[in-house]
Symmetry: C2
Subunit: 249 residues, 2 copies
């Protein structure tokens, strides 16, 4: 926990007094070993980052006064579109990409996505929020990402994705790339070549564990996306995503 | 397991017959649900990748004949030098970077490395081998990486690292970069700028959880390394490493 994250409603507005119980208090007491008078890094969800001056701390409760200082860091200019993953992988993808600063996720249906994944309790708002908070605490950021789920592949790609790729919001340049194993330009080379025209927004698209079908790849390319490969090797999804994000620091 | 990996001595030389027991058999039986006659991807450690034709398979034993086909994929041109991590993180770093194709790791001492990490059973050859095999199975590769441990920071950096950076083996160009949080060029920009002269070999250096000390950073830069930052955010080591590797696809 590199940042103590709390909701605005957990702070009294007059005195900036915050009292937290449970996981956060326990972590600060046992891992940070914080003591009265210590100054820790804290942040209000969707708000400022600043200093927490510890007033009182025990195993199950921490009280501090919060002094807001800085804006949260710049968001990443990458939107991730990922075929829905098994819950264990979804957790890792969310935590790691949120810690990197990704602010928009779209999880989509694909032929090789196991149907049961759509029933996972992890997809409930509360469970997603837990993963997001862990990612923000790690990455020292306060701003919640938007997460959408699209259970119908064809309408999403034909209608929504092609709109996302082709329309320019506020004159922003947008590029979308599907990452697919095969004899394509490597993402790094592709980015080098187009370095003269860096894009304001980038959309990266990843398939399910078994990969997109040929039909799905064709559909995504038809919607206006470029196609690149990451490696001749097969990487776990969470590592493939971070490897790709590394080209958009 | 995207590849069934076995030692040369597990195969009879005359008939290319292989019999495996334990973890691999169990996985192939329960997860792959392989049946007699199936053809699976297999590889000999430090040798060829090819086809395993299943002769017999049960919960605890698989027998197949192996037909070698292709060489393993090209190795990554990145050497990783990383301050020793806590065992849980070390496992993840090894598995993920091995699956990416990294063939040389040097784990080093640093002021903020907890002394107990050097006593971890994970540092024993047998335990390291387990992690390496998991990484190779994931990445569909057969070639074992070299792993070294350097328990004395100063002699390593002053003598060995500066030699690695400054001497050119077989006329290969070598560049070393220390990844350090701060107001430095981002790795991606740095790589873009030096794109005209791509290097044959790259050395990437990562600090411990709490970061290198200023003294350590100075020493590493004195040894001839450039300095770059990955992000204003703090990433878990395994994700930071993959993010950096993404610039060297």
């Amino acid at each position: 926990m590199n940042l103590i994250l709390f909701y605005p409603e957990e702070m009294t507005l007059e005195s900036n007094y915050v009292c937290l119980q449970g996981r956060r208090a326990e972590h600060i007491f046992n891992v940070h070993r914080a003591q009265v008078g210590d100054v820790l890094k804290a942040g209000v969800i969707n708000g400022k980052i600043g200093e927490a001056r510890v007033l009182n701390v025990t195993n199950d409760k921490i009280e501090f006064s919060f002094i807001p200082k800085n804006d949260p860091p710049e968001p990443s200019n990458v939107t991730l579109i990922i075929a829905l993953q098994r819950p264990k992988t979804l957790k890792k993808v969310l935590q790691s990409a949120v810690s990197f600063g990704v602010k928009k996720f779209i999880f989509i249906e694909s032929w090789k996505v196991e149907k049961s994944y759509w029933q996972s309790p992890l997809l409930e708002a509360e469970k997603l929020t837990e993963q997001i908070i862990l990612g923000l605490e790690q990455g020292v950021d306060t701003v919640f990402p938007k997460i959408e789920f699209k259970r119908r592949f064809k309408p999403f790609v034909e209608d929504e994705l092609s709109l996302m790729v082709n329309q320019k919001f506020n004159d922003k340049s947008i590029r979308a790339i599907i990452m697919h194993p095969g004899n394509y330009s490597k993402l790094t080379d592709f980015c080098y070549e187009s370095n003269d025209l860096k894009f304001d927004e980038n959309i990266l698209i990843f398939g399910p564990e078994g990969g997109f079908t040929d039909y799905e790849v064709d559909k995504i390319v038809e919607a206006g996306c470029d196609i690149c490969s990451l490696s001749t090797r097969i990487l776990r999804t969470e590592y493939a995503v971070m490897t790709a994000l590394g080209n958009f620091l």
